[in-house]
Structure formats: C-alpha cells, structure tokens
Symmetry: C2
Subunit: 406 residues, 2 copies
C-alpha cells in the first residue's frame, strides 16, 4: 500500500554523473541489488549520515574515506544486507568491497564511498558483491537515474526520484535525486539513502552546508515509525559540468539553487513517507506559534508517533481527543492548555483548549476521509513554526514488519 | 486478546472500605458503568494523578477537593465518558455529579473525589449519572471488590485486582487493589485508574509518600503505546480499621508494608500490560549498568515503544538488529557501543556491540516463542538498573484502536 499514484519517474540526467545497476544475488538471485554512481573528477561531494550510535560499518567507513580528503570517485550501494551490528568483521567486509571496485576502476580505495541497506546483523556476502561489480560498471550511464532508483529499493513498493531544472542567465541548471526507505524511518541526519546530483559548481564546504540545511528541512522532518536507522545516509554531488558556480557572491542564484534543492529533497522525503510501510495517509503535522524549535518538534513528533493518533488516521476517525492528549503529554513546560487551538485542515476542532462550539463530527470526518491532510496545532507561545510529515498505522504496517526477514 | 490466563479474582475485603456498583447507561443501557467507594471516617487517603497537561475535568476537581483538606468520604467513578477536553462545562458537570452524591450521603461536595474514564471530548451525561447513583449506593459492601473491578472496565478484556495479607505481631494486615486500563497506557504519575485500600493506619503525609514511591516503581514503569492518558489516577486509602499503625517508628513493619504495597501495585500494573490492547506478549525491558536513571529509562522506553521491536515480538521474530538500533538512537551521550551487551532472557545476542559469536537463530527463536520474556541491555556505564514492562504490537491493537468509538 502507498499514498497517491505511482507515476513514472521523469528524471533529468546530470552532466558528468553516471549510474550503473547490477545484480549480485545478495538476497535473491537476479534481483537488481547493486548500484554504482560515478562522480566525475573535479566534482565536490557532501554527505550527511545517521546519528544512531550503532551506525553501520559502511557509514563508519564512508565517513573515514571522506575525512581522508581523497576525492570521492564512486558511490557503491548494495541492498539486501545493512552490514550493521557486524563489528570489526563488518568494517573489513565493507573495505574489501571498496578495494574490489577501486582495483577495477584504477582509483584509490579511499575514493570509494560505501552504502548498505537491508537486514541488520547478517555478515555481508562480499564475494557475491565483488562478482556483481562488473555488471554494474558496464551499465554506467548518465541516463540511468530511474533504474538506480529501483536498484536501491528494499521494502519500498515504488522507486523514488525528483528532478528540478531552472534557468539562470541563459544556462540550465539541473538537480536530480533518488531515495529509498519505507520503514525504520525517523531519519536523524538523513534518510535511509538519498542521492542528489547537480551540474552546478559548488565549493565543497558550501555544498556541505547547503546539504545539511536542506536535510534539516526535509529528511530530518519525516517519520514513519520513529525508528532511526543505523544506515541513514544522504549524499549531494556537484559535478560543476554546467560551469555555473553557486556561491555566496551571487545571492540571487544561491536563493534559486537552495529553493531547487529544497524542492528535490522535500520531494524525495515526502516520497518516502507516502511509501511508508502500510501507509494509507500522508499527513503534515504543523505546529505554529511555538516558543522555540525544540518544543514545536516535541509536540509535532508526539502527535506523529502516537499509535492512537495513527490508528485513528487509518480508520479515518476524527478522534481528536487523542491529538489533544498528545499535546498535553509532549512535555512543553508551563503550557497553558486554554491557549491551544487545533485544526484538521481548515476545520477547527479545539478552541481555547476545549472542543470548538461549532465543531460537528461530519466536518472532521470529511477531512479524515482525505488521503492527504494536515493536523495543525497553534500554541500561542511564540513565532516558531515547524512541520513534520508522517503516515498512519495500518494492519499492513504490522503485517510487513511481522513478516520481514521471514 | 491478553497474555496469561484469566483467573478469577480472589480479593480480601478491607475492613471499613465498601464498594458499590451501579448502572447509569452512559454508553449502553444496563452496563455496569458506575462505581462508588466509601472511605470511612478517620481513614487517610493519598492520590497521584496524570501529568498530562490536558488533564480531564474530574482530575482537576479531584485535586481541588483534596486540597481543601476536607476528609474524602466517597470516590465516584464512571466509565464510558472521560469528561476530558470539555473545558469549563466539563468542570461544572463533574461538580454536579459530586453534589448529587453528596446530597444523598449527607456530606460536603468537597468530600467526593470524582474519576471518569472513556471517550475524550464528549459532554458528560450528568443526568444519567445522577439517576444511577441510587443503584450504586444500595450496592455498597466490603465484599464487592471483584464486582468493582468489573465496574471500572472500558476496553479491558478482564477485571484486574490484587490482594495481599501479612501477619504482624499477631495481627493480619490487608492490602487490596483494583485497576483498569488497556490502551493509552504510558502512565506518568499513575495508570488509568487504580484503587488500593488497606486496613493499616497510616498518617496522611506518609501515605502520600508511600503511594508516590510505589507508583514510581510500578504504574510509572509500564507502557502499552506510549500515550499518557488525560485521566490517569491512583488512590490509596488506609482505613486504619486494623488498629496497626505503619510509621517510621517501626522500620520492620514499614519494610513489610512497603513490600506488600509494591506487590499489589506491581500486580495491578502488570495486569494492565498483560491486558494491553491486542497483547500477545508480556515483556520486561531491563536496562542494567546505566550511569543514571534518566539514561536507563531512555533506553528502556526507546525499546518498549519501537513499533519495529513490537511487531517483531508479535511475530516471535528474534530480529535483534531492531533492538540494537533502538539502543543506538536512544540519545545516551557518549555511548560506547562496543560496551553494549544484549540478552533475550538468558541468550546473549549482542557481545561488545556486535552479534555474539556463539549466537544461533534457534536460541533466540526459543525465547521469542515464549509468552513472557525479558529484553536485557547492559550498558557498562554505571550501577543503575531500571525495568519497564510492555507488550507487542499486533493486528488486534490496530483493529481495536481503529474501531473504538465507532
């Protein structure tokens, strides 16, 4: 199940950035489970990784390789095995995969950035991955974004991608990205896996800043089940092939680039929520007039994670008392509940802390019947607005997670 | 569904404490939905209430009445309607119910302590409750504990009670309690509703301290879905009818009384978890060798609330990577993951932060097949041990909460 139509991906290629899809038979023979992405010489690359302290071996190694200062040349992604909870052996396994690809491409092992996603705690089948590399290398092509979006899927029911172009002084700039993820989704730094490339030219330090900020507004504001993965990672590559440089010296271009980057990142993040395990609803939780970001997010995530709110969403039941109870237990200090207003889309359900006098069940029902809707909470404490996006909790969520692995 | 057998309650009466069950037809005609408990003159009473800031009208009024210093004489409980999110009207409604009972019993309204549980946000049907009072009053009897346990049920599938007696210097002391609750369970002060009485004589200030401490070890350590209710309340009454006084002057008696109180409170709290909505498992999450209580509880609740861990429990799937991921994202500062050990009952699954070398799937499977089991995490950071109790997340949980109200 998933929210909205599964429309074919229309992804613009990014000059200089090639993608190749291969098959290593990690979990099932013949499955596309290997993706290689080629970063051209002269490009810059930024990455954000999970804040889960049990981060997976490929995350540890990816960080190490990026810290060496070596130019990243290839991203190597496998599905079917997360190489997490695997200790020192996991690190050695991830390194062997990097070395294998490095030899074939005649680059240093440090220029390979590894990513894994799948089951936690199983040894990585290194030999299968090494044997599958040639198929992926032979497939490298600037036009293979959509195929790569499929190649990084695990429990996802659909590939996820987003692509934006804009004109600037007679030049066309492109930003294209793909992502994967459906469960264990409460990214804390980045989602399961996301890859975005642009042909803009961007200094590496600036690129990292732009990625971190855009992540904070997109991947770090979605949740399916509150479970932060051990393998979250998101990478942004600027090939520079357009010759157009984004920098602080040109604030107009910067603004347009950030807007385009936000559009791609939000598109990818929302696609993950819509494909959330068992999702039948796409819900924005918007907390307004909070005193600070922390309390706004506390309220938003308390609502977004509440099993009672999520099952009511699944049932299209405007059981707003459950939302109100979340606001009350979110841990906002000295909250004056008589200041709280709550809306479902444009229907006000709570006025000054109690049921709105003109609220009628049919009005709430009409909103809850929608596939996409907003829960809006006004705290009357300050100026801060925060939004998070989430899904409902359905029978399919239980089925998928009770049966995954088996 | 519920964990364990539904054995008949065998509850000792507490001298001086009478309970009466009546029918007010709040949600359904004929349903036992009204319970009155009579506190004898000379008794002491202690109460703990929800920390949800949206606390219900009866909670507000109960606190007010206790603060007046008036001797509490009757506890008035209705099910079917929580009288929460009802604003000023809700307070007026709760007061009218208290006044109605006060008139009939010829006591002050301040000596009535009101409790409500059920749907949030609907107006309390005061006239129905007033009309039902006589049936409950006529039913008052020291031997009606088991009936009262049924009278306070909502989505509970079974009545919950616990009773302990012990001898002290030739006298028999009794502690008996009942509780209700199955969903919206992560008490933060006390569970949905709990009532415990003893015939010991206990000074009011001491009684409050003993209740608060016992609550911290019992009701405040259970969770079904992480949703703290707006109506949680627990009351402890000491009738003094035994003539035996519990006080700091007799530390041996004090120790035995606290042990008996813990046994009753834990019994009631565990009964709520075992009857958790859709529960098929009873799980103790034990975090050992933490540096402080806060981090121990962070880890324990992160595991106990994880939808991925809970669905794996439902599926009897020893998917221990999900537990490890919870430890990693629980927010313990400077956690050295290579110090972490994890067991399922006596089977060690994680050694020094990675899969145990001698772990085999069959061993984990054997534990997961049990109806009651322990997830044990050793952090190697200090001396603190904390335990919380929880359930799995099953299809029935979704069904119950997607259909409740409709």
């Amino acid at each position: 199940m998933a929210v909205g139509a599964n429309t074919p991906l229309n992804l613009h290629p990014v000059r200089g950035f090639r993608l190749g899809i291969g098959s290593a038979g990690i979990k099932k023979p013949g499955r596309k489970d290997l993706v290689i992405m080629e970063v051209p010489v002269g490009a810059t690359l930024a990455g954000v990784f999970t804040r889960n302290q049990f981060c997976a071996a490929p995350v540890v190694l990816a960080r190490r390789h990026l810290e060496t200062g070596a130019l990243p040349r290839y991203l190597l992604v496998n599905t079917g095995n997360a190489n997490a909870g695997t200790g020192e052996q996991g690190l050695a396994d991830a390194l062997r995969c990097c070395q294998g690809l490095a030899e074939k491409m005649r680059v240093d092992a440090e220029s390979i950035i590894p990513f894994s996603t799948g089951v936690i705690g199983e040894p990585l089948p290194v030999d299968k991955i090494l044997a599958g590399l040639d198929s992926a290398i032979a497939d490298l092509d600037e036009n293979h974004w959509a195929q790569a979006a499929e190649g990084i899927m695990t429990t996802d029911t659909r590939p996820k991608g987003c692509s934006v172009q804009f004109e600037y002084q007679g030049q066309t700039l492109t930003l294209t990205g793909i992502s994967k993820g459906a469960g264990m989704i409460m990214p804390n730094m980045a989602t399961m896996l996301g890859y975005v490339a642009t042909d803009a030219q961007v200094d590496a330090l600036l690129l990292q800043r732009l990625l971190s900020e855009a992540t904070e507004r997109s991947f770090n504001r979605i949740t399916v089940d509150g479970d932060t993965s051990t393998n979250d990672a998101c990478v942004l590559v600027a090939t520079g092939a357009s010759g157009v440089e984004v920098s602080d010296l040109d604030p107009i271009l910067m603004e347009r680039f950030v807007a385009a980057l936000d559009e791609v990142m939000l598109g990818l993040a929302h696609a993950i929520v819509k494909d959330g395990e068992g999702a039948t609803k796409f819900v924005e939780v918007r907390v307004e007039a909070a005193a600070n970001v922390e309390e706004a997010l506390k309220v938003a995530y308390t609502i977004a994670h509440s099993p009672l709110v999520k099952t009511a969403l699944f049932a299209c039941d405007p059981n707003w008392g459950r939302i109100l109870a979340c606001v009350g237990r979110a841990g906002v200090e000295n909250l004056d509940v008589s200041d709280v207003q709550i809306w479902l889309d444009d229907v006000r359900i709570v006025t000054d802390g109690a049921r709105s006098a003109d609220y009628r069940e049919e009005l709430g029902q009409a909103v809850m019947d929608r596939e996409s809707l907003m829960i809006r909470v006004h705290l009357n404490r300050g100026q801060v607005v925060e939004r998070v996006w989430t899904t409902d909790l359905s029978h399919d969520y239980v089925t998928i997670n009770a049966e995954y692995r088996s």
